[in-house]
């Protein structure tokens, strides 16, 4: 036992434990006295039971609606439109605008890797536990969402009614790869320039980009699922052919 600890932890014959070492750093519960915590029984367990019961009730009500079952699978009758499950409609929407390898594999693959990499870049613990980090973070998230929504709708409408391919179709690498990558890169760069006006921390800047990702994720699902009819052309939800809602 070192001199440093002798006064704090006196040797006692009745003790079955001893101080082995002092190390720097804190354990997860250090300084969180009893005033910060409550017993899991009943406080946490009660909330869990409520969440479970609520989900069960919701699920039972949803189950009043029957799961779809269409005609027997027939490889000779192509569905029009042929849609993937709803949570893939964002990928299928992207397929309309760029090379399939880029839309279906490369972008989603890079997105998953980028998501996994976030915590290794976002290292400051300054604002843990606070929704959107700060007032600034909330403003960035809001403006990023508006920015992304406006651009996505504009791009979808542009590619439907004016069509990139009717302007530039040769060589294939231009409409398939170069233009989409340039648009995505350019708009991300512009978003970063806008976010920088707030002088954000790393986390606040990442909040801007993550918000753009979430908005894109959902908007492309909505557009692909509810607004794509025959031949995957834009239409209004009430004019969709049967089978276009792939739930």
């Amino acid at each position: 036992m070192s001199e440093q600890t002798q006064g704090v932890f006196p040797k006692g014959p009745g003790k079955t434990y001893g101080l082995m070492e002092l190390v720097k750093g804190t354990s997860p519960m250090v300084d969180k006295g009893p005033e910060d915590t409550v017993t899991s029984w009943p406080h946490l367990l009660l909330l869990e039971v409520l969440a479970i019961l609520g989900t069960t009730v919701l699920l039972l009500f949803m189950s009043l609606l029957n799961a779809p079952l269409r005609e027997f699978a027939n490889p000779d009758v192509t569905e029009n439109p042929a849609k993937a499950a709803w949570y893939f409609m964002n990928l299928q929407e992207m397929l309309l605008h760029m090379d399939p390898a880029l839309a279906g594999i490369i972008i989603p693959g890079l997105m998953v890797i980028a998501l996994m990499a976030i915590p290794y870049f976002d290292r400051s613990k300054q604002d843990v536990g606070i929704w959107f980090a700060s007032k600034k973070g909330r403003a960035i998230a809001l403006w990023s969402a508006i920015y992304t929504t406006v651009w996505l709708i504009a791009l979808i409408l542009f590619d439907e009614y004016i069509r990139v391919r009717s302007l530039v179709s040769e060589p294939e690498i231009l409409p398939g790869w170069i233009i989409p990558i340039a648009v995505i890169g350019g708009l991300s760069g512009l978003l970063y320039l806008i976010i920088r006006r707030w002088r954000p921390s790393t986390r606040e800047a990442l909040i801007g980009f993550f918000t753009a990702f979430v908005v894109t994720y959902f908007l492309l699902i909505i557009s692909g699922l509810f607004f794509r009819g025959l031949g995957m052309h834009l239409t209004v939800p009430w004019d969709l052919p049967p089978g276009a809602l792939s739930f």
Binding site: W41, T55, A73, P119, Y120, R123, G129
Partner: protein
């Protein structure tokens, strides 16, 4: 009071009850700790939790709800397995039978379907919650990575189940999906062949998707959920603003 009622005494003051429940009714701090530690199904919880992590507006319960939906899917899924054979000849008719002749068949199929869709949504929302509250930061980096993988596995589970009814919706959705997989640079054709076991979506694909949906992906899911929960405990529970306060204190001390 509860301990004094004669019915309670009759039920609890005997060797059988006390061999199952090793502590009294959890109305004291000691018994509340014991009930968590002594019970397999409770002991994934800590004895005490931060007040902050109980705020509904903090978590929206998305993690618990996702895990519960997975449990619902396992239970209803096993039940559906009783009445389903993954062959092109039988699959579609089995689903029709489920809907028309089997008691509660329609209800269980509906529950399975909607729970799957809900889970795809709640897992994604859970991920958004964790990011926007900074729950992905040190020391929780790797648990975030596992969470992203759980999201991917959830989608794969839902997608492999989508083919099994063998109707037009399933057939063409899987055709579209595997065509996307087929354009993977360099190894596209091989990936597609691996998934489908043939050039087109057919009986081989049905068996493969069945095996992935019933066995491989649920197993991966169970293991990853286990690690995910374990690490929540090891990383000090849910994130909270107390941690950033701690950082500030530490910085002041080191100055």
């Amino acid at each position: 009071m509860l301990n004094k009622s004669s019915i309670t005494r009759f039920l609890t003051q005997n060797r059988v009850w006390q061999s199952i429940f090793r502590q009294g009714y959890p109305d004291t701090e000691e018994n509340r700790a014991k009930v968590i530690v002594n019970t397999l199904f409770f002991h994934i919880h800590p004895v005490k939790v931060k007040k902050h992590s109980l705020k509904i507006s903090y978590t929206w319960g998305m993690g618990v709800i996702s895990a519960f939906l997975f449990l619902v899917l396992v239970v209803t899924g096993v039940w559906l397995m009783f009445f389903y054979a993954p062959s092109v000849e039988r699959a579609y008719a089995d689903i029709q039978n489920m809907e028309t002749t089997i008691t509660f068949g329609m209800l269980l199929r509906n529950m399975h379907r909607w729970a799957a869709h809900l889970m795809v949504l709640t897992v994604f929302l859970h991920m958004c919650r964790v990011f926007f509250t900074g729950g992905h930061k040190h020391p929780r980096e790797f648990n975030w990575v596992i969470g992203v993988m759980l999201w991917v596995v959830t989608i794969l589970l839902s997608y492999t189940g989508y083919l099994l009814p063998w109707d037009q919706l399933a057939y063409w959705a899987v055709t579209v999906g595997t065509n996307i997989a087929g354009v993977t640079p360099l190894i596209g054709e091989q990936v597609r062949l691996l998934l489908l076991g043939a050039k087109e979506v057919g009986p081989e694909a049905l068996v493969r998707f069945y095996a992935l949906h019933m066995w491989l992906f649920p197993l991966v899911m169970f293991i990853f959920i286990g690690v995910h929960f374990w690490r929540i405990r090891k990383d000090g529970g849910l994130s909270s603003p107390l941690e950033s306060a701690e950082v500030e204190q530490g910085e002041q001390q080191s100055e």
